[in-house]
């Protein structure tokens, strides 16, 4: 594998509905932005790029099979190589990694990842039905299963076992919405209070409408290059923003489609196979986990995501990260639900299993310098979803994981102010960040680490 740089990106403004353009046109907005940001014109980039990877989740939403090739031809990228990836909510994260692999393997020097979803073409509850079809149609969907319901069941178990509260979940919603207030690409830029979140209509107890991300139309694109690719682009006239951003680690994990099938492993198996490096090396943490297991906790059960833990551990190992909370300067993670942001803090080792609730409301995952209207006991330590995440930016599925990549690139370049027209969300001098993309009830999860080069 050779070094791969994520050099540029673009995001269409995420919106509830974009009837003004078809999906090809929306992708082109993000794609053009990424090209313009390296100061190239369209024909020159078309000449230099070696190929692409396309990301979109559901053929049902567009009622169009082979939509990927329609984007490829609209962007003038034919006859260059391309393929479509699909992995539920993690489609964008998988696309990011497949484009990385295209370059890391030496197959391409310059590869563009683009993704989209147009979810507005059906009514919301039909959209929920489409997404619910990404659960087992023999055993889960026909019972009345749908994703908010699945996540609500996970969190009732999390609450029961670990004492997590709805107020802690609401703190995630307040944080992400208020962050998005400063992000012009976000769909929902509102200042909510804990009471607003709790008083919103109940969707699946205890998750309210403000605990849950929304459906969106949108697109995103990321350009990757090898050292040789950088030279080719520069020879073509590109001005690539410095410092460069290296993708220093990728990891991916999977788990059973039906969350009822997840195992419930004992303490020893957990410590041997799933503990983070930091957890395994701490006597205090081992004792903490022993107490949890003695009280009946089993892993992953339905309260935790083994795929997320696997992806994180794999990416950390590759990037040389041993203490994520200290060594990551920000994380853009897949907060389809406030509860899943809390679960993911634990999977990614930002805190221990069972401590995600208190971590959520502690302040550690908040941005410094923003008034959240909350009393936070701790200083900001590792902002999570400084962009506003899925809950506030929106979740046009195939674009979402790539959107995270774009925002991470801009954070590490220090160009948030330029791209957002507001530097409030610029993390102070970040060196390393992580993006996390998540499908289903935790079926496919990707974690990618990006680092600023000196």
């Amino acid at each position: 594998m050779r070094p791969v740089y994520a050099i540029s990106g673009g995001v269409s403004k995420f919106a509830k509905s974009r009837p003004d353009k078809n999906f090809q046109g929306i992708v082109k907005e993000a794609y053009d932005y990424a090209i313009q940001d390296i100061d190239l014109d369209f024909p020159t980039f078309t000449r230099l790029v070696d190929g692409s990877v396309a990301s979109y989740f559901s053929d049902h939403f567009s009622r169009q099979l082979m939509a990927g090739i329609m984007v490829q031809d609209y962007l003038g990228l034919v006859p260059k190589p391309s393929h479509r990836v699909e992995g539920g909510g993690a489609t964008g994260g998988i696309c990011f990694q497949e484009a990385w692999k295209s370059v890391a393997s030496g197959a391409m020097d310059i590869c563009v990842a683009y993704g989209f979803e147009t979810m507005s073409h059906v009514e919301t509850w039909k959209g929920n039905e489409f997404i619910a079809l990404a659960s087992d149609v023999s055993f889960d969907y026909p019972v009345g299963g749908f994703y908010s319901g699945y996540y609500a069941m996970m969190v009732t178990r999390h609450m029961k076992e670990f004492g997590t509260t709805v107020e802690q979940m609401a703190a995630v919603s307040v944080k992400n919405h208020r962050n998005a207030y400063h992000n012009p690409y976000a769909q929902k830029r509102n200042r909510y209070s804990l009471e607003d979140v709790r008083n919103a209509p109940m969707v699946a107890w205890p998750l309210t409408r403000l605990d849950i991300c929304v459906m969106s139309d949108g697109a995103a694109a990321v350009i990757f290059a090898s050292e040789e690719g950088l030279k080719k682009l520069e020879a073509g006239g590109a001005k690539i923003t410095q410092p460069l951003v290296l993708v220093s680690g990728i990891g991916r994990g999977t788990d059973a489609m039906r969350m009822s099938d997840r195992p419930h492993v004992d303490y020893d198996f957990f410590m041997e196979n799933y503990a983070t490096q930091q957890e395994g090396s701490s006597d205090e943490t081992r004792a903490y986990y022993k107490r949890l297991w003695d009280r009946g906790t089993r892993y992953p059960g339905v309260h935790s995501f083994r795929a997320g833990r696997t992806a994180g551990n794999m990416a950390y190992k590759m990037a040389g990260v041993s203490d994520p909370l200290k060594e990551l300067d920000f994380v853009e993670l897949h907060d389809a639900y406030t509860s899943s942001e809390i679960q993911t803090y634990e999977d990614l080792g930002l805190c221990r299993y069972g401590e995600g609730g208190p971590f959520a409301s502690s302040g550690k995952a908040f941005m410094p310098g923003i008034d959240y209207g909350l009393t936070l006991a701790e200083e900001a330590e590792c902002p999570v979803n400084p962009s506003g995440g899925l809950i506030a930016c929106g979740h046009p599925v195939g674009a979402t994981g790539l959107m995270q990549g774009v925002f991470a690139i801009w954070q590490l370049q220090g160009t948030i102010g330029r791209h957002f027209g507001d530097a409030t969300l610029q993390v102070r001098n970040p060196r390393r960040g992580a993006i996390h993309s998540h499908a289903g009830t935790g079926t496919y999860v990707t974690v990618s680490i990006l680092e600023k080069q000196d």
Binding site: N128, W205, S260, D261
Partner: protein, 182 residues
């Protein structure tokens, strides 16, 4: 939980329009005006009936139709799946059927759904629950009846429950549901 709605329900349906605004002349001015037009949106219907096979899981549904709840078990390790699987995940071996109708069972996790997929909206609010069974390694997703959806409580977790079966099978996993007791 119920609130006074401040927004009317909407559907995608609308009037059929005959005649679409268009420049009278396709001269340069008229053609330039086309860039200012709002998009045209039409309805497209997509409807299909699938002949869905339960395949190797079929006996589980036949069990429900006969008021028995089956599970799959690895014949050697004894690892048991409440939601059936034809093959064990660890050994790859074909599983055997066992009857767990009368096993002790309790609620492992639950939710009350006030919304859902379009197909299930008329049934809201309904309670979904994951059920754990004695000496069974995995869970079963089901509907929980006999509890008040308006009184959801974490105390429901751990509640002892027992299966009930529809008198007339629909050959769906909802042929079985659970109620407090047992």
């Amino acid at each position: 939980m119920s609130k006074i709605p401040s927004q009317r329900d909407e559907s995608l349906g609308g009037f059929i329009v005959h005649g679409v605004p268009f420049p009278v002349d396709t001269d340069p001015e008229g053609l330039a005006y086309l860039k200012k037009l709002a998009p045209i949106q039409i309805e497209q219907e997509y409807k299909i009936t699938y002949l869905h096979s339960y395949g190797q899981d079929s006996p589980w549904f036949a069990g429900l139709a006969n008021k028995r709840l089956l599970a799959s078990r690895d014949p050697e390790s004894g690892y048991t799946y409440a939601t059936p699987r034809g093959n064990d995940m660890a050994s790859g071996r074909e599983t055997e059927w066992i009857d767990i109708t009368d096993r002790a069972a309790q609620v492992h996790a639950f939710t009350v759904c006030y919304f859902g997929s379009e197909e299930f909206l008329p049934e809201t609010p309904y309670v979904l629950a994951l059920i754990e069974f004695e000496d069974v390694n995995t869970l079963l997703l089901t509907r929980l009846m006999g509890v008040d959806p308006g009184e959801a409580s974490l105390d429901w977790i751990g509640m002892h429950v027992r299966p009930r079966f529809l008198r007339n099978s629909k050959l769906k996993p909802t042929d079985v549901y659970f109620v407090p007791g047992g």
